[in-house]
């Protein structure tokens, strides 16, 4: 692939900014764009995606050969479809608001961090910290995930086809996690709210995580999510929620304060 050499740009500090321009290499046909990321830097790939989505208004983009590069597909704030043919590295697809992203390979640590809305579907495995601080949208991993999935999750749904590592749902605040396989030690440790559904075994529960009661609404939600993403639904799930017994749920401190005042 021939790369276009353009003069370097300089930022306000006078430092050269390499790869400051989109490479403009995508082939566009029938409203769909496709380009090969082989030999491109992370910045060039992201600039090309943004050029296509924002400047060209194309809502169907395919990126071939991402080669596990880090930080691809981040900060996309518009409705579009993006398909990565291959695996991505760390920090993939974070901070998005709207797009539907499919990754045919696996992803490294911290995929889909802090996403606000949209869908990310990973066809293979994912590393640790997947869906950290997720605020909304759906994150679907067909394979296994590493440790601390959905740490500090604030909303949205994480659906895992395989197993999950330790400290899954650590300090989770809202949202749902659905784990079709087994979960590691410390499930839901120090969670504030939200629900975790596990079909397999749980190595151990974290502090203040307790078994909850499955409701009809839970079953309906599970049916719907599995239906949307075409995954086979395990026959039964156990629901885990916050026991609300930790000190931060105790109102003694507030009463003490009133007495003092």
């Amino acid at each position: 692939m021939e790369q276009v050499n353009r003069p370097a740009r300089y930022d306000v500090r006078g430092l050269a900014e390499p790869d400051a321009d989109a490479p403009r290499i995508a082939e566009v046909a029938d409203g769909r764009a496709r380009f090969d990321a082989e030999g491109l830097s992370t910045r060039q790939i992201n600039l090309e995606i943004r050029r296509l989505a924002y400047e060209e208004g194309i809502d169907d983009i395919t990126v071939a050969n991402p080669a596990a590069k880090h930080s691809l597909g981040v900060g996309i704030l518009t409705r579009c479809r993006i398909r990565f043919e291959g695996s991505l590295g760390y920090f993939a697809c974070g901070l998005i608001d709207g797009p539907e992203i499919e990754i045919t390979g696996r992803v490294g640590w911290s995929c889909a961090e802090n996403i606000m809305a949209g869908v990310v579907v990973i066809r293979k495995n994912a590393g640790s910290l997947t869906g950290a601080a997720l605020r909304g949208g759906d994150l679907v991993v067909h394979g296994d995930v590493g440790a601390r999935t959905g740490i500090d999750q604030k909303g949205g749904t994480i659906l895992i086809g395989g197993n999950a590592g330790s400290s899954t749902g650590f300090m989770m605040q809202r949202g749902r996690q659905i784990i079709c396989g087994d979960a590691g030690h410390g499930l839901g440790d120090s969670m504030y709210d939200g629900a975790i559904y596990v079909a397999g075994t749980v190595a151990s529960l974290g502090v203040d995580c307790v078994e909850g009661e499955m409701s009809e609404d839970d079953e309906e939600m599970l049916d719907r999510k599995f239906g949307i993403y075409g995954l086979e639904r395990p026959s039964s799930f156990t629901k885990f929620v916050c026991g609300k017994k930790l000190w931060n749920y105790d109102n003694l401190e507030a009463n003490e304060r009133k007495l003092v005042l």
Binding site: A67, A68, K69, H70, G86, S87, G89, Y90, T104, G105, R106, G108, W109, K124, N125, G127, S128, G143, D144, G146, A147, G165, S166, S167, G184, H185
Partner: protein, 309 residues
């Protein structure tokens, strides 16, 4: 941050020098301070010893070159004195050397006697292990030591971002498991009971060449092996004995192992097939040697995995 990598060919020899260079260079951003390789060539009757007599950071003061030459001859003389039949001693850089010799005596006695030469540190000792480490990125080190020509069966490597000790060769990984032949370790993480274990191992007669916490793992494993504990068992015991966050790799003459701490706090991605096992802190390093689409996974917390050729 640091980055670690390992590769083992189960079906014969390959260009592991250039493979490991590509893997480590792709993780240069994780540690630009120094780069190290532990490479396993075909087993030989000869003992291969990599050693250094100074550090690249050392001030080139009065008679620096002459002094190194004197010390090099002193090393050769001491090898002969302990009964080694020296084959050759080659200077790879002005301060780093590779010696081959025949010797079937006590390796610890030999190592202690040789390291008594001022400035001398044995980087590796064995029948197939060769540890090469120096300042700079992987391509720089590989070019300086001509690693593109190195063929072998397995290797581990490390790119270092110095956090708790100096930027020098002594602080660079891999660490040879002194005084054990053909055993080396690389580590990503921090050990919080370093001083406890250092005091304990020093009392048992082990020597340390650096202030780097990672050296503990190599010496810890060496002591277990000396007690007749199997490699995999020793690694499993280390999960209870070592505090902190870590992922480390150990290599022996015919095996490669990985261990992760109980929080899985440090990354490792792994690809495994019948012919080949490749692992690294980042998948980009695996892609540097396997370009086709592959299935990879992360080992979980407290996992110990060992592969043999």
């Amino acid at each position: 941050m640091c980055g670690i990598a390992g590769i083992i060919h189960r079906d014969g020899e390959a260009d592991i020098g250039s493979e490991m260079t590509r893997m480590l260079q792709s993780m240069r951003h994780r540690g630009p301070d120094s780069t190290g390789f532990a490479l396993y060539g075909p087993p030989s009757d000869l003992v291969v010893m990599r050693f250094k007599l100074a550090d690249p950071n050392d001030v080139r003061d009065f008679e620096w070159t002459e002094r190194l030459e004197r010390h090099r001859h002193e090393v050769e003389g001491r090898l002969s004195k302990v009964g080694a039949s020296v084959d050759r001693v080659e200077g790879e850089r002005e301060y780093a050397y590779r010696a081959t010799f025949r010797y079937d005596g006590d390796l610890k006695a030999l190592a202690d006697y040789v390291e008594d030469v001022p400035g001398c540190e044995i980087l590796s000792l064995g029948h197939s292990l060769e540890i090469v480490k120096d300042l700079g990125d992987a391509e720089t080190v590989a070019e300086q030591y001509r690693l593109d020509r190195f063929r072998g069966t397995h290797a581990i490597g490390h790119v270092r971002m110095a956090t708790e000790s100096d930027v020098d060769i002594a602080g660079a990984h891999p660490y040879w498991a002194y005084p054990f032949s053909d055993v080396a370790v690389v580590h990503n993480g921090q050990l919080t009971n370093y001083h406890h274990w250092r005091r304990r191992l020093e009392r048992s007669g082990h020597r340390f060449q650096s202030e780097c916490d990672s050296e503990i793992i190599a010496v810890y494993i060496a002591e277990k092996l000396a007690d007749g504990v199997a490699l995999e068992t020793a690694m499993k015991q280390s999960l209870d004995d070592l505090d902190g966050v870590f992922t480390y790799l150990v290599v022996t003459e015919d095996s490669l192992g990985v261990a992760k701490d109980e929080m899985a706090a440090k990354p490792l991605v792994l690809f495994e097939s019948e012919e080949l096992v490749v692992m690294a802190s980042e998948e980009t390093a695996i892609r540097a040697v396997l370009r086709e689409e592959i299935d990879t996974y992360d080992p979980y917390e407290r996992e110990v995995l060992v592969w043999s050729r």
